[in-house]
Symmetry: C2
Subunit: 407 residues, 2 copies
């Protein structure tokens, strides 16, 4: 068995991500942009809404014309006209004047607030009674209140949610520059692994890892490319690795949980052009036997064979690299507070990641650790998140408040 | 102005969802199934892994052969053979015997545990020294430990995450039945609304709502279909509503924030075939002027015109209907605990939904309310979640622990 070079801690491993360049950008239509990452800053070409806009149905007036008005002592204003929706009014409002306006309408020049229709009484075609004293700015938004011309509305690196799509629509971006989806090659290894459409003979299992990793990649904005299953043959393994490396932005090889297969994988990665092994062992559990090679400008990962280990390493270690490749501004994963339903022991010299189920009870979440080895996919299916146990902590106690990283 | 029929509370509105049928199911390939909803229960056709499997490199033995063994007093076992990866071993293990085995290998009949190679010393080709006493089941998984034949692995209605894709691969599901994506029609209304590729003249604004709602629909597994912008014309509005209704599983109409446009929308919805207004006003803020019509077997929503109102109503009210349509088992939205950075007042007679930004500081989240009216899209862009203020509560205080619903 080859020795681990030197087991590295997570932060050291994550710091390697800056060695790898971002993917290029491409143009997409706004309606294809959800979940993509902005490759440019978005600057507003104009004010939004672009005009003083009523947010209530009523009368546009000068606030000063209403000062002191009340039910008992109304102000009487002259109706100067009506604002047509979607049109600039062809008149202005002076002291003592009012204009009929509907929600969304443009305030005439001179008007600085809207009196809600509920606080008015229309006496006749030319006179309205105002029952409330208004402050300037009431029941309207100013022309640049949503967005100001020249303002940086969204920063490069932002992943687009529905609300970002909304503000891009507001700014007139029918198409925009986003980072291309990274292509990530997937190779499974092991003489015991068979394609999922095969009924495995005794001693064999279906290729779970390729499909679980492909789904994780898709979930994180990348495009998986399958390079199949490779058995215990150096020649085959090297050929597959080389092809995947040429055609992809990053490669994940998994399986080969036996020492022999792991050694073969390490040999193949070392033999690739311009290859340098950056990581051979991470102080986490599960996931210690993880390899990261830098092959030219590309990251080549050797993930553990046990499916839950491979998935945890992906979530905790590979994902930040992928975000970096995608140009995404790093965002710390969301954490939910929960109380542990049982004691958890720490792992000597490693950060432990424990799969937990979240149960909401009496107004708070409880995190219930899921028992079972990391080779069992059902332990991931039952899990809602991961709880990290620091290597320097003594362990965590039942009832203790912990942070759950959602998966 | 037409009266609201009767403002209903959220729970009453949500209970209407069972009036609408689920969409049909369709077959998808496993690698297209991420995020889709299972239309069938998934039952395992066989045990997984299907054989007793080593989880460490070492020797497969009968635990009883090692009882009492230690460094000082090792047990000496006879090496009966080696297990080839991916093959059923052609021999069995009796008392006093051992078989070389690698991680992932199949234990020979008779063996009931694996001794890690680190706890052994191979004396010669036929003898191995065992330095530890082993319990049955150590360093292996049993043949049905991950999944048992006939077990219901995943239930109908489950939305598929990467780990569910993994277990489906393990069970050999190269394709599966999922619910079809609901088609949801989107109509924007208002004389002031222009397409996003237009530079709006004074008094006009771009159609933010259609694009923000389309993104929300995509984010929730539906397929949006745009039916354009309709101005203040009953005839046009009715024609658009009718077309959208025929071609879609559900329709969202938004905009028309003025009373006139709202009345027109209500008239159009009432005039549709087999139409019945179920909801005309919900006791929430923002979002009170929401309409829900049942048109035959389809839900037709009249959403508020202000974009933040429309989005909040979508998230809080429409989404559960969509989940129901998609066949998804209802899952309560995830809530993150956070402390308020300022006091919030409650709204008389309505549940308030306040947009908040989440800030992680000193090990806990703070929820910072975002100021600004519901017509402003930037208030949604700055928000990470919503805090609900119950109508019966006096208000929430600065520093109080609240639950944030992520958006």
């Amino acid at each position: 068995m080859k020795e681990f070079f030197q087991v590295l801690d997570i932060d050291t491993v994550l710091a390697f991500k800056t060695r790898f360049p971002k993917v290029e950008s491409e143009v997409v239509q706004l309606d294809q942009a959800l979940g993509r990452v902005l490759a440019d800053n978005i600057v507003a070409g104009g004010d939004i809404p672009g005009f003083n806009r009523a947010t209530m149905d009523g009368f546009a007036v000068q606030a000063a014309s209403t000062f002191g008005a009340s039910e008992q002592n109304p102000a009487y204003l002259t109706i100067a006209g009506s604002v047509n929706m979607g049109q600039a009014p062809g008149f202005s409002i002076g002291p003592g004047q009012a204009a009929r306006i509907a929600t969304g309408g443009m305030l005439p020049p001179g008007a600085d607030c809207v009196v809600m229709v509920e606080h008015t009484d229309t006496i006749d075609d030319s006179t309205v009674e105002i029952h409330r004293s208004q402050a300037p700015g009431q029941n309207m938004v100013a022309g640049n209140e949503d967005v100001s011309k020249g303002q940086r509305v969204l920063a490069k690196g932002r992943r687009l949610r529905p609300q970002e799509i909304g503000i891009l629509a507001a700014c007139g971006y029918g198409e925009l520059m986003v980072y291309r989806r990274p292509r990530v090659g997937i190779i499974s290894t092991g003489d015991e692994v068979v394609p999922i459409d095969t009924v495995p003979e005794p001693g064999r299992i279906r290729d779970i890892n390729s499909h679980a990793l492909a789904a994780l990649l898709r979930d994180n904005g990348a495009e998986p490319v399958f390079y199949g299953i490779v058995g215990d043959s150096y020649r085959d393994l090297f050929a597959h690795c080389r092809k995947a490396l040429v055609e992809s932005d990053m490669v994940l090889i998994s399986g080969g949980s036996s020492v022999g297969m792991r050694d073969l994988t390490l040999d193949a990665l070392q033999a690739l052009e311009q290859s340098r092994i950056l990581v051979h062992g991470i102080s986490i559990r599960p996931g210690k036997p993880t390899i990261l090679a830098q092959c030219g400008s590309k990251a080549f990962w050797g993930l553990p064979g046990h499916v839950a280990s491979a998935m945890v390493v992906f979530m905790v270690v590979v994902r930040p690299f992928l975000e970096h490749l995608c140009g995404q501004t790093a965002i710390p994963p969301l954490r939910v507070s929960a109380r542990l339903t049982r004691n958890l022991v720490s792992v000597q010299g490693r950060v432990g990641f424990v799969r937990v189920r979240l149960v909401h009870q009496d107004g708070e979440y409880w995190a219930e650790p899921i028992l079972g080895q990391s080779g069992l996919i059902h332990t991931m299916v039952e899990a809602d998140g991961l709880v990290a146990i620091d290597m320097n902590c003594e362990g965590l106690e039942k009832g203790e408040l912990v942070e759950v990283r959602l998966i």
